[in-house]
Subunit: 192 residues, 2 copies
């Protein structure tokens, strides 16, 4: 029986992450990534528009995954129920098998301010898309912006926690705990 | 009676903002800023370490203003009461007289991705400082991080709203409304 082989794009991506982590992102060329798995630079550029795309491809897919949760929610869902639905749906992109890959990717991004900035833009794009979807469902301002930014905040804190060494809870479990904590924090009546 | 004259640093800052807004940030030199108010480049550099500092000086003062609110809060304050105290204290730096200046500054930042990135770093520094102050007061994780990021979120949304043309509410009023809205959003029990 033939052993399963990952696709060329996935092999290039795995090889790139290893090289970025060991040699540094700036010091690694597309040609070196391709050569390290016996492929040509031309093949690399059939799969990725540039070196950075190895780290950031799939951004639209990620946004779509979050928005699919909102689209599937019942019509009477509250804004925070929509946020929870978006987070649940998005969490499917972060199964435990993905954790080692995500940790390696994060270690590369943590070493490079330009990549950190790119990652922040990715996150603000996600938050903006969630805000748009909430407004399209009739959520008024400022609730839509607050709810969308709360979604981004919970996702960001959960993702950082999910990447910690030793962390074994799923993204979804961490996000549920954070949402419950947020309810507990803000649900306390202010004293007079 | 002598007419009140703003200090040299403030004159340079006002002149710089005007030039940045009209000519563009990149296209304006420190020497041109100084000349526009009859001063020398050397005088400029006695007040600012570089051109960018015109836009970002006062960051430590801002952080201190937020943290002073936390320090002055009663010892039994809840995490969100500490957040509200930090926002109230920080809001003192944004009186209505400052709104025109802040709008002009924001218009310069909006035109320049590097300045936007610097502004995001400033905000994440503020959030980190608030998180540190909450932890120092015994707030556990993940509540401290959630509360600190909620503070940053409310401040950011409020500041954007405060800058809108026609907006006349104070920073403090806008923040109070957002905190109430956040309580309303997250206080709703999730359905089973």
């Amino acid at each position: 029986m033939a052993r399963w082989q990952p696709g060329t794009g996935e092999r290039l991506q795995a090889a790139a992450l290893e090289l970025f982590a060991v040699r540094g992102y700036e010091q690694t060329t597309a040609a070196e990534i391709a050569q390290s798995v016996g492929l040509t630079e031309r093949t690399f550029f059939r799969h990725f528009s540039d070196k950075r795309e190895v780290l950031f491809r799939g951004q639209e897919l990620m946004t779509e995954a979050f928005l699919a949760g909102i689209a599937a929610a019942p019509s009477d869902a509250t804004p925070m129920e929509l946020v929870a639905a978006a987070l649940d749906s998005g969490a499917a992109l972060f199964p435990s098998e993905r954790r080692a890959h995500s940790r390696l990717r994060q270690s590369v991004i943590d070493q490079n301010p330009a990549l950190q900035e790119r990652e922040r833009l990715k996150m603000s794009g996600l938050t903006a898309a969630i805000g748009g979807a909430l407004r399209a469902r009739g959520v008024a301002e400022p609730a839509a912006t607050l709810a969308a930014e709360s979604a981004g905040m919970v996702f960001g804190i959960a993702f950082t926690q999910w990447l910690q060494e030793g962390e074994e809870r799923s993204m979804s479990d961490i996000e549920h705990e954070l949402l419950a904590e947020l309810r507990g924090l803000t649900g306390t009546s202010p004293r007079g």
